[in-house]
């Protein structure tokens, strides 16, 4: 009973601390409080970008593990800790997309087990985010592309066609098709990032 009360008092004290002090403290519970503050925002961030609760959950776990490993590199000089955390998450997401598989390096390094996602949690994560504004944002961003870029992105990403086929349908070289898709995606990424910030 006394121990529980002491623990409650400690949690209360930790809850008062700013993020920078939670990250600087070598206390697992302090990091737990930091986690509590940002976990839903990070889950939402990943779910909006992946539209997959399981991927969002995995990336959230990986990002917190990486944040713990890198916590001493956080400097309270301006950007809030959430921006720093999301910066890490953004790179984890990009890496996972590039490699076509989820990054698990930080969890492996820390010795963390993978936490399975149950059906109830899956539903709750999906409820965190209203995807309607995102669908509109994607449509808006696609409308902003030139017809050539939009067609290339649509054939490659939407229909999943190989570059040779994209090139054939667009009557251009394979290299040109690659360039168009890359430019289109880069533009979409910029546009969507701005739109997603607004949605967020």
């Amino acid at each position: 009973m006394r121990r529980r009360r002491e623990q409650g008092e400690l949690m209360g004290e930790l809850a008062e601390l700013p993020d920078s002090e939670l990250l600087a403290a070598d206390d697992p519970e302090a990091f737990g409080v930091f986690y509590d503050r940002h976990v839903l925002a990070l889950l939402g961030f990943f779910y909006r970008r992946t539209v997959c609760a399981e991927t969002a959950a995995d990336l959230t776990a990986e990002t917190f593990a990486a944040a713990f490993v890198a916590r001493r590199r956080y400097r309270d000089l301006g950007p809030p800790a959430r921006a720093w955390l999301i910066g890490i998450g953004r790179r984890k997401l990009a890496r996972s997309f590039r490699r076509q598989r989820l990054d698990m390096r930080a969890r492996r390094g820390l010795g963390m087990q993978r936490v399975e996602l149950d059906d109830e949690s899956l539903e709750r994560i999906e409820e965190l985010v209203d995807l309607q504004p995102l669908a509109e944002a994607v449509r808006e961003a696609m409308d902003g592309l030139s017809p050539k870029l939009a067609a290339a992105v649509s054939l490659r990403v939407g229909d999943g066609l190989p570059y040779a086929e994209v090139a054939r349908r667009l009557d251009c070289s394979e290299g040109a098709a690659r360039v168009r898709v890359a430019r289109g995606l880069a533009k979409l990424e910029n546009e969507l990032d701005e739109l997603l910030e607004v949605v967020q």
Partner: protein
């Protein structure tokens, strides 16, 4: 709110307990180090290591030689390839151990670029302070860093782990499969490349077509027109054409193991590109001496673009 999502709760427990266990382990390790009970074990361990080195030194090389030599000084990280065949995974582990947040991607290339760095790229483009020696031209987040070299020099701010900026991808050349298009190619006239010592460079396009076809390659044609706008902005515009144009072959690159691209300076453009490229070269210290010598011997006017390419890439020269 978190309690409404069981996964979030379980993840918190796993995270906090893993951190606590890790700290307990490192605390126990520190206490053990402080107790000095490690001394006898260290002496015994050192004896075993010495014995192993002596034995392996006689029997064969030590296993696990590093794939990369990574050094960090001031604001720069240098990544030198020691063993290009070690594989991307091994290289990534060494990058991670050096505190560099990076991955290695292998891309199919023409023979002279196999086992060489092709580029460094950042998902959002390179950090602002990437200087020209790492790669000036950037597009789609690419930096043309030291193409064809064994050493990459990268700004430290752009490679550190988890600093919100730094994930860098290092691109390494690998041999291509039979029908795989090359992502990057060296000059087709360089040693190991398909047209080395073929005599095609400087040939009339129609004559070159016969030679290259006889060698078993499929040709695609490009015109190469000088669009330099003074020494500050050199450039050559290449455009695909369906048939061999009237002109002289000024460059070539392999597109795959069976296909070659030939670049032709059209007859009406002949003088300008050669002349302006020579003018550009005169502005660079490294080439001044050779150029002066070449002018004295009269080779410049005689050999035109071949000479220029040889000055820029001496390995292109055919010694046969």
């Amino acid at each position: 709110v978190n309690q409404r999502i069981p996964y979030v709760e379980r993840l918190r427990e796993e995270l906090v307990s893993t951190i606590a266990a890790k700290q307990t382990r490192s605390g126990a390790w520190n206490r053990w180090l402080a107790s000095r009970r490690w001394a006898p074990a260290a002496v015994a361990g050192a004896a075993v290591v010495v014995a192993a080195v002596v034995v392996l030194g006689v029997v064969g090389p030590l296993r696990g030689a590093p794939a990369l030599a990574i050094t960090q000084e001031d604001e720069w990280a240098t990544v030198r390839l020691l063993d290009p065949d070690a594989g991307a995974e091994a290289m990534e582990q060494e990058l991670e151990a050096a505190g560099i947040d990076g991955n290695v991607e292998e891309a199919p290339v023409s023979p002279s670029l196999v086992g060489r760095w092709l580029a460094a790229s950042w998902p959002d483009g390179p950090p602002e302070d990437v200087p020209a020696e790492v790669g000036g031209g950037t597009a789609q987040g690419w930096s043309s860093a030291d193409v064809g070299g064994k050493t990459l020099r990268l700004p430290v701010d752009g490679v550190h782990q988890a600093d919100g900026v730094g994930h860098v991808t290092l691109w390494l050349g690998r041999p291509a499969e039979p029908d795989e298009p090359y992502w990057a190619s060296g000059s087709a006239f360089a040693e190991g490349e398909p047209l080395h010592c073929s005599g095609v460079e400087g040939m009339r396009a129609q004559e070159a077509e016969q030679v290259v076809t006889r060698l078993g390659y499929e040709v695609s044609w490009f015109t190469a027109v000088d669009i330099s706008d003074g020494p500050e902005s050199p450039g050559v515009e290449t455009n695909p054409v369906k048939r061999a144009p009237q002109g002289t072959v000024s460059g070539a690159e392999a597109a795959s193991r069976t296909k070659v691209r030939l670049f032709v300076v059209p007859d009406d453009e002949q003088e300008a590109p050669w002349r302006s490229q020579i003018d550009l070269l005169e502005g660079t210290d490294a080439l001044d001496v050779d150029l002066e010598r070449a002018k004295e011997t009269g080779e410049v006017s005689e050999f035109g673009p071949s000479l220029i390419r040889n000055l820029v890439s001496p390995d292109v020269r055919c010694d046969r």
